[in-house]
């Protein structure tokens, strides 16, 4: 299934919690129901950021492992 990505940000090398901050800023720039694609580092970033976003009510639609990062698709609540 293909998603219509409204906005994409690359947070490779951006550590916690600044990566979450940047995701929250990016989510401010799209509308409810629209999709944000984020590249996150393995380790703390991929373990924490999607979990925090789910806690805030956003949906994590897809997590794709890449080389040393992950591509995550988030639907804004």
């Amino acid at each position: 299934m293909e998603f219509k990505i409204e906005k994409a940000i690359d947070l490779e090398g951006v550590v916690c919690p600044l990566n979450l901050v940047k995701v929250k800023v990016a989510l401010e720039e799209i509308a409810s129901g629209e999709l944000l694609e984020v590249i996150l580092d393995e380790g703390d970033a991929i373990l924490n950021v999607p979990r925090s976003l789910k806690e805030e009510g956003h949906k994590v639609l897809k997590v794709v492992p890449l080389d040393r990062t992950f591509k995550v698709v988030i639907e804004k609540k």
């Binding site: 919690p17 600044l18 979450l20 901050v21 940047k22 929250k24 800023v25 401010e28 925090s52 806690e55 805030e56």
Partner: protein
């Protein structure tokens, strides 16, 4: 509002809070707060509000820094002795956060100037040390529909409540100033330095909650603590129909300067 990367880092611990977020931080940065008194309560309030990035912070105080202030007024440092408190406070706030615009008023508030000073602000913090000023701030805020945080400390005790227009005001609870000299001022009675920080930071938290619009303010509640036994309680208070300023038949219809209790610092001069 577009945040710079520096701002995203500086405010990251706010932005990641679900109740603050990007929009809450923007509201803080658009906020205008006036702190009356750059003393024990105003010092921590000013420091935390500057650190939080409140857009405009006005600070009112007519005094200069005295050695007896330094035990609790943590915004003033030893090299600041004899410097106007508002200047000393402005330097520290700007050093903590150059984003913040600090406006100084090197004067005391009186019936004839308070309305002109508060008019440009969204929220007022009472950090004064005497009853005439506290009642004057209440009356000016009620007349001008400005929310404010009342705060008072003495010895090991502190109390605070938050007024928003239409809810219980300071006079709903404390009708009128006590008789002259019935109550000692801080300079006569002593105060544990750290409780100034406790109360001033509660006031700062109320300001930030007011700006972000989350949680419950201390409206219609009086928070009282006793740091000697470290007990806190909140007493419900109600809008009082017999309140002399916001009740059904108000007797306070204009601002007046109550007589200042003689303070030992003044009598020494």
């Amino acid at each position: 509002m577009k945040f710079t990367d520096e701002q995203l880092e500086r405010y990251s611990r706010h932005i990641i809070l679900q109740n603050v977020g990007v929009t809450g931080q923007e509201k803080i940065m658009n906020g205008k707060v006036l702190i009356i008194g750059a003393g024990g309560l105003g010092a921590p309030a000013a420091l935390y509000l500057a650190a939080a990035g409140v857009g405009t912070i006005g600070i009112v105080d007519g005094d200069v820094v005295d050695r007896t202030n330094l035990q609790r007024q943590v915004i003033h440092f030893t090299p600041d002795l004899n410097k106007p408190k508002v200047e000393s406070a402005k330097e520290k706030m700007e050093a903590i956060n150059p984003d913040v615009k600090v406006v100084t008023y090197k004067e005391l508030v009186f019936a004839n100037n308070i309305e002109g000073i508060i008019k440009d602000y969204d929220f007022i913090v009472d950090g004064t040390d005497n009853f005439p000023a506290k009642f004057l701030i209440n009356d000016a805020c009620v007349f001008n529909k400005k929310p404010f945080s009342h705060g008072g400390i003495l010895r090991f005790d502190g109390q605070t409540m938050t007024y928003v227009p239409g809810e219980a005001c300071y006079r709903c609870v404390f009708n009128s100033p006590p008789p002259k000299d019935a109550v000692p001022t801080c300079s006569q009675a002593g105060v544990l330095g750290a409780i100034a920080g406790m109360l001033g930071t509660i006031q700062a938290a109320e300001v930030l909650k007011f700006f972000i619009g989350e949680g419950e303010l201390l409206t219609n509640r009086l928070l009282v603590f006793d740091a000697l036994n470290m007990t806190f309680r909140t007493a419900p208070v109600k809008k009082n129909p017999n309140c002399p300023i916001c009740g059904d038949n108000p007797t306070v219809t204009e601002l007046v300067d109550a007589e200042q209790a003689m303070c030992d610092l003044r009598s020494r001069m």
